[in-house]
């Protein structure tokens, strides 16, 4: 198996590289007293041209916030630190605003992102950058099984599944080099789910990079090249798709193993306890309170990300 970023032996540069990203929100505690709530800490991820990286992990672990941080659409009370690069250059907020919608496409998680006062056909046409807007829009509507008359409807007239297909269509008609899809498929008919994921795979095969945020591990395994496992605002492991198989012993981090074993088609066993809340993060390893490999060092020192068996892991004792 070739390493990520290695296209026929030549090491290419990552399209997107995020290093030690932290995101905090300023909140008012009581009266005028402010407090900082750290929701993402020390997160690192890289995407190479031609690959689909799936981001899976605990609900509320900051998967969507990563997408919003890359696009520069976090709310105003967010403080971002760390290093983000797109195409080898630092992502400044000015660059983010010119890149999003052109070089970086986004499929948002909520259908509330559609403009409620604009017909959906026009919303998709606005995203077309090359060729006849009308033709491109009609072609993609056909691809996503949307009837011709749908283009004249407003978002409130659509079912949840149709609205989601419009979001996907709008994001994928452009000519973006990086596509970030945040839970693009829940509530869709299986055939449309397949079509959507297949389309994302097709785009990456054309040399783009795709970040697929999902909690559907099965889908991730089918369409992604690598999988990043999130927990409590950081990446605990980056694994190759093949590592998610059998009893999960090829996985590196105990949380990834637990996630794999918890699937209903595997052992369906859970872990006691819960993910630590932002603001109450343990000083040491974020997973320590639920870990069966827990030792004293885990309580004292938060592990740094290290390379292990062709992947990356954030654990003192993973082998």
């Amino acid at each position: 198996m070739s390493m990520p970023g290695e296209v026929s032996g030549v090491k290419t540069e990552p399209m997107l590289s995020v290093r030690e990203l932290s995101v905090s929100f300023i909140q008012y505690a009581r009266g005028l007293k402010q407090q900082l709530l750290e929701v993402i800490n020390g997160l690192s991820i890289e995407l190479y041209p031609g690959e689909v990286v799936a981001v899976v992990g605990s609900s509320g672990s900051g998967k969507s916030l990563l997408a919003h941080a890359v696009l520069g659409i976090l709310p105003g009370n967010a403080i971002v630190s760390g290093d983000m690069q797109f195409g080898g250059e630092i992502l400044t907020s000015k660059r983010q605003s010119t890149l999003r919608g052109t070089e970086i496409a986004f499929v948002p998680q909520s259908v509330n992102y559609l403009d409620p006062l604009m017909k959906v056909g026009a919303q998709v046409k606005a995203a077309v950058k090359q060729g006849s807007k009308r033709e491109v829009q009609q072609k993609i509507f056909k691809r996503y099984h949307l009837d011709k008359n749908v283009e004249n409807l407003y978002p409130f007239q659509l079912s949840g599944g149709m609205a989601r297909r419009i979001l996907v269509a709008g994001a994928l008609v452009g000519n973006a080099r990086l596509v970030i899809a945040d839970e693009p498929t829940p509530g869709l008919h299986p055939a449309v789910v397949k079509e959507t994921l297949h389309h994302l795979r097709e785009l990456s095969d054309e040399g783009r990079a795709v970040m697929l945020i999902t909690h559907d591990i099965k889908a991730a395994l089918e369409y992604a090249d690598r999988i990043a496992v999130f927990y409590a605002g950081t990446t605990l492991e980056t694994a190759n798709v093949a590592d998610f198989s059998g009893d999960g012993s090829d996985l590196r981090h105990p949380y990834s193993k637990a996630l794999w074993k918890a699937l209903p088609q595997n052992d369906f066993v859970s872990l006691p306890g819960f993910q630590p809340a932002s603001g109450e993060l343990p000083q040491g390893c974020l997973f320590a309170p639920r870990c069966h490999m827990f030792k004293d060092l885990c309580k004292e020192k938060r592990p740094k990300e290290r390379s292990l068996r062709g992947g990356k892991v954030r654990c003192h004792y993973a082998t």
Binding site: G57, G60, G160, H215, F274
Partner: protein, 208 residues
């Protein structure tokens, strides 16, 4: 006391029939899965069985009688999006105690931290909120629990944790469970019987 749907049909005002001629029965202690793609009427059936909608044809009977109109509903429904099912201006303590007062053992089995009781809904993740919604539905009057895509939005570890607790409580109290899901592997895991709405005879679905 079985929960029965007898040739139930439903359509929204002036709309087409979304459910028609649907019959179903569940006994205490039974776990029945309801499977089907989106738009097959799963959620509508769940709402009909829980008394959230009145059938336009046929009837829903609990123990041979229509649903009670007063007191806590013995048929409880848990929905997919917990953040839409709790009052955003109530602390979670208030949300739970509106229904009943669960003991510490139940709270522990769902992995609920005591500190969460004083939190507002926007301060918890959906996985954490959903645990509250499930506990709220498991009050002493509850005989049947309908889980409508209850863990669809959650990660696998949280999903397994919630189901472990629900199955244990359901077995102990002899509750009937109706599990609505589009994920066959989940239903196969613990359902005694699975009703597939995809293969269900929908020939009766006509535009009115």
């Amino acid at each position: 006391m079985p929960l029965k749907a007898l040739e139930v049909g439903f359509h929204y005002y002036n709309g087409p029939w979304v459910v028609s001629n649907f019959s179903f029965m569940i006994n205490p202690g039974q776990i029945i899965g309801l499977y089907g793609p989106s738009g097959s009427g799963k959620s509508t059936i769940a709402r009909l069985l829980a008394g959230f909608e009145k059938p336009r044809a046929g009837q829903v009977l609990l123990d041979g009688k229509p649903m009670p109109v007063k007191g806590n509903n013995p048929v409880q429904l848990v929905l997919q999006h917990p953040e839409k099912a709790v009052n955003p201006r109530w602390q979670l303590e208030q949300t739970i105690y509106e229904g009943w007062r669960p003991n510490a053992e139940i709270m522990d089995s769902f992995g609920i931290s005591n500190k969460w009781l004083k939190r507002w809904p926007n301060e918890l993740s959906s996985g954490e909120l959903q645990r509250f919604c499930v506990i709220r539905a498991l009050g002493p009057e509850t005989r049947y629990l309908i889980a409508d895509e209850m863990t669809t939005m959650l990660d696998a570890v949280t999903q397994a944790q919630i189901w472990e607790a629900v199955l244990r409580i359901a077995a102990r109290r002899n509750l009937g469970l109706i599990v609505v899901s589009h994920e066959m592997s989940l239903l196969n895991r613990f359902c005694h019987e699975i009703v597939n709405l995809d293969s269900y005879d929908r020939s009766g679905l006509v535009y009115n």
